[in-house]
Each structure stands twice: as C-alpha cells, then as structure tokens.
Amino acid sequence: MYAYNQFDQTLVDQRVDQYRDQTRRYLAGEIPEAEFRVLRLMNGLYIQRLAPMLRVAIPYGLMKSDQLRTLAQISRTYDKGYGHFTTRQNMQFNWPTLESVPDILADLAKVQMHAIQTSGACIRNTTTDPFAGVSADEIEDTRPWCEMIRQWSTLHPEFAYLPRKFKIAVSGSSSDRAASQVHDIGLHLYHNEQGEMGFEVLVGGGLGRTPVIGKTVRKFLEPQELLSYLDAVLRVYNLNGRRDNKYKARIKILVNAVGIDAFAEMVEAEWQFTKGKDLRLPTAEIERVKGFFKPPNYLSVENAQSSLKAEMAAHPQFAKWYKQNTRDHKQPGYRIVVVALKNQLQAPGDVSHQQMDGIASLADQFSFAELRSTHDQNLVLADVAQRDLLSLWLKLTDLGMARANIGTLTDMINCPGLDFCSLANAETLILSRQINETFDDMDYQYELGEIQLKISGCINACGHHHVGHIGILGVEKGGKQVYQFTLGGSASNDASLGKTLGRSIDQDQVVVVIGQILDVYVQQRKTDETFLQTVRRIGFAPFKERVYGTHQRSAA
C-alpha cells in the first residue's frame, strides 16, 4: 500500500501543530464557537450528544496492521476501549475529550494517519471497492487512483469551504461494491471499445434528505486528466452550488436544477482552462503511485492450497463460514476473507481494542500485514492462502469475529441513532439487538439468501436506508419513536432507491414486520430468486397486504 515520504509526513505533522494551536486558542476564548466548529469539523471532530466524536480517515479503507494497532491503542488511552467502523470506511471514536484530540492526532501521524477532511464542507475521504486489486472480477485496480485523488484533495486551498460536503467513490470491477452511484462523484474505471482505460464520471448522486442516483456527466475520461476534470467539477460546484439552505446545498441539487446536460457544459467550459496543464498527471507519477500497489509475494498454487474439502468435512461450521464469508481471488490458491463486525453482542461496525489487536496479528500472520474496511461496516483480509483458512477461522472464532453472516439479514448497516447522535429521531441500535435476537437461526438466514438491511435514525440517512433491500428509517411522531419501512433499494450496479411501504411501525413491532416481509418473500419467490428480484417482480401489494391488511398496529 501507499507509504508516506518526507513530504507527506511533513504535511501531516504540520497539520497536527496547526490544529493544536487552533484548539489552544479556542480553549483560551480566542476563536468564536461558530468558527471553531468549522475548524474542528475539518479535522473530523463532532460534538455529539454525550461527548465529542472523532472520525479518523482510513483512505479508501486500506490499513496496515500497525495502523490498526494504533487505533486500538488510541481507543484504550483516550476512549472507552472500542472504535466504530463507518459506512465510509473510516473509524470513529465516540468518547475522546476535545482537549486530547491534538495528542490523538499526533499519535496517528506517527503511523501515517490523520483526521483531515473527515467532516465539514470539503472533499471527504475517497472510498472504493474493499476488494480492489484482488477481486476476480476486477477490470482495473482503483487504489492508485484513489491515492492520487487523496493527495490532490488533501488541504486543497480552494475547496475547503464548499457549499456542503463532497464525497467521491471509485469502482473498477464489473460489480459495483463502492456504492458509486450514490456519491457526489462516482468514477467507474473501464476499457472503452478501443481498449483504452478511462473513467466514466457520474455526478450528483447522494442519499440524505433528497436521495438521488448519480448521472453520467462524462462517458469517457482519459485517466491523465482525472484531476483536471475533478478540479473543473469542484470549481463549478463551489461557485454555483446553493449556499442559502444547507439541505439544498449538495451538488445533486445543482445538477437537478440546471439539468445534467447544462451542468456537463458548464464543466466542459471550465475544463478548457485546466485540461492539459499542471493538473495533467504525468505518466511517471501514475507509475510511481501504481508501484505502491503491486501484488504481494504470493505462494505458488501448489504451496498455497490445502486439503480444503477434508477440512470442511471435518468442520461443518468452517464450511459454512468459507461459503458465506470468503470470496474468489484473482490469484489461484488465495481467498478474500470478510471479517464480520456483526456479531450478536456488539453494534454493527463496533470493534473492541482486543479485537483490533487480534485482527492486526491475524493480518500479520495471514494477509501480508494489511487489511481493509468496507462500506458495509466489516473488515477484509484480502490475501489469505487457502491453506491458512482453517487456522484463521479458528482464531477469528476466538475473537468472536467468525459469524458466518456476510450478505445475510444480520449483516446489516446501522447508524448510531439516538444512543449517540444529536440529530437522531429514534434509536437504531435497539433494533439491531432485537433483530439479532429474533433472527438468530443462521440456517433460516442462509435460506433467505442475500438481503441488505439498512437502518438510519433520521432522514440524514447515514445508515443508507434508501438503498437497502429493506430500509428502516427512524422518525418521531407525537413524542414516540416509530419506523418507516422502504423496500427495493440497491446500491449496486442496478442502483435504485427504495420506496416507502406504508405507515410507520412501532418500535416493538419492527421485528414482527420484518418477519412478515420475509414470509411474503419465501412464499412468493421463484427458484433462485433473490429478495430484491422478488420485490421488483411482484411489487408492493402483497407486502402491504401482509403488513397492514389484517393488523392495526400502525403508529398513526
């Protein structure tokens, strides 16, 4: 993976000093509250209901084991011994003190990490496919491009005070695992008919209050001009995005207001000034960055393989885990392993310091000392030789991280909701607990197949509920917490926004309603049909009939 040079290190170190001085002046009363708010947000520090919350950047989800150990250490020293992986592949700490943040940032800088631009109205951490560089269906490795975007966007002087936050996602495989269609900019690496590699550029996707699927603004972008083109989009947005209403300030609103064609013309006009100039990426620079992402020293197939069949026969639980939590690898003899952060006891995405240390050691032992975070709040060990799978599984089992539920109902995404978030309308973590208690039969979950359940505690949609096959949104009605269901959303290639099923549901009825929805699916599905396919085929009527038809349990 990318390693800092003196240049990167200087930048991060100086940034820590700068923030230390800002914190000192704020505490001395020299920076007004409203202004410090913006300064701390640019360094990932929110003030939440109970305490500040610090969001640490994990650029495109890639980490070294040492970095994860530092995160574990930080959680012990400054927090309550755990961290939380977010849907944008970052890590959040929920309990640091404002005064300690400069020290945390200094600790992070020692292992080439930071919290720069993890919040605020600026260009955020670029996200990508957690299987980049290893997946069997990959067209092109996205990581070097993400790194080039990271560098360009870091402390960008012109784009630090945008109308609103700005998120970029990059996908380079035939299946989109980066939710690129619901980002401000989505980039798809592909080969055109002439066989040249380039980007399709989508703009104006996003969730939140006004969910929108991104639209193509440029069919093919020559990769050398990636930064000059992004620069043009950002400048058009910075000058023209709405600033009078923060709910209408995202680029999606601008794109919808002027129309995608007019927007594309504005970008093209601006691009004429920057194309082919100093933002054009020299081939040598592209090659230099690509050099950081060369494949590791894989074992030969013969050495990497083992008697997998016999091992599975001897350990049926291992066989289930293999099937559910590992994926095909480019390299023969290797598997991609998804480590579930979705057990019955912890909130989705939460990870204790012992687990972080444990996983870091497993990465050292079995996956070239690297790991990744995913946008559905799990971890990935990307390069595990087949012969090591059984030992890995045994050790993950000890850590409570071998639940074989990836892609199933209980592999849900969940925002923190009312337990932590000051914007929340309703609790969400209680729902994940109830769901885990009710649907604890794994065989039933396997039977159901792939289901993406996504839960948000308010309309800001941090839990991506619009793109859940089943989405749940917490709302408040007459002082009561109730939940709105949506069905049929997806963040993959066939991206779509879920539609509301009907009246909101009381908290104690949420699991009942999930059960009813699943019943309808099981009754109506055709052979091999997934939940999403069934919903799309049969429509909402049968679900509505089952949920609302005979019962009167709505919360008005």
Partner: protein, 141 residues
C-alpha cells in the same frame, strides 16, 4: 484595521474599497480603479473588466462562503496582477488558503492579532496541488 499585504504588515495602505462592482459597472460616472465584489456578482463580467482595476476586494460575508476562493483563483489564472484583497469575515485560520489561491492582501477581522496572523502564512509548508501561488503539486517537484 490591520492589513497584511504581500506577506508583511502594511501600515500605510488604501482604505477598503467601497464602490461595489455592480455600481462601477452600471454607472459611467463612477470613476475608480478599486472595487468591492463578492460571490453574488457576475464573475464572467468581473473577469472581463479586471484589467481596468488595480484593487479587487473580495468580500466574505461569512467565513463559510467559499466562492471568493475560486474567484481569486480565476482572476489570477486570467493574468490579473493587481491587488486581490480579502475583506469581511477574514481570520488567521483562513489566510494561508486565501494566499495560496491568489489573495495578496488581507483585511483582518477586528478581533484578530495581525502579527499572530502573519505567522500563519506557511504554517503548512508543503502542498499537494498547484494553485495560484505557483507552487507545483508534489509530483512536479
């Protein structure tokens, strides 16, 4: 009012331009080579007239209004060589970025200490992207 200009504290300097760009444009009787503008003005028009101006003061009504950053950047890109002055809600924590995009003068908000502010220029000494300050991106060094 403290003014930082060309990376120095400026003791003798012109007062804040008070003629709005829109008025300057509309009224032939207004004779001045210094105007006050902000993100609400017609930027294309400003760019077209910049060569007639020696001071362009870009106003930040609130510090969060980042349009001024792109305005300065585009003025410099077009070859404008006069003064670009940041006025309004201008504080030490933003002047480094302002400087990078092409501002060369800063009228600081009243609560700001000018000497302290001066020390903020160049606080982060390395840059990943080209800007109006002529410093190239990392890969061009």
């Amino acid at each position: 009012m403290a003014l930082i200009k060309d990376q120095q504290l400026s003791l003798s300097h012109a007062a804040t331009p008070h003629i709005r760009f829109a008025d300057w444009l509309d009224d032939d009787l207004v004779i001045s080579d210094a105007v006050l503008t902000n993100g609400a003005d017609d930027l294309a028009c400003l760019l077209a007239n910049a060569n007639k101006l020696s001071v362009i003061a870009i106003e930040f009504e609130t510090f969060a209004d980042g349009r001024g950053f792109s305005m300065a950047r585009m003025l410099r890109r077009d070859g404008y060589q006069g003064e670009i002055r940041a006025v309004g809600d201008v504080a030490m924590d933003r002047i480094e970025f302002m400087h990078r995009v092409g501002f060369n003068a800063f009228e600081l908000r009243e609560d700001q200490d000018a000497l302290q502010a001066l020390a903020k220029l160049g606080e982060v000494s390395v840059h990943f992207q080209p800007s109006a300050d002529g410093k190239g991106p990392a890969y061009m060094r």
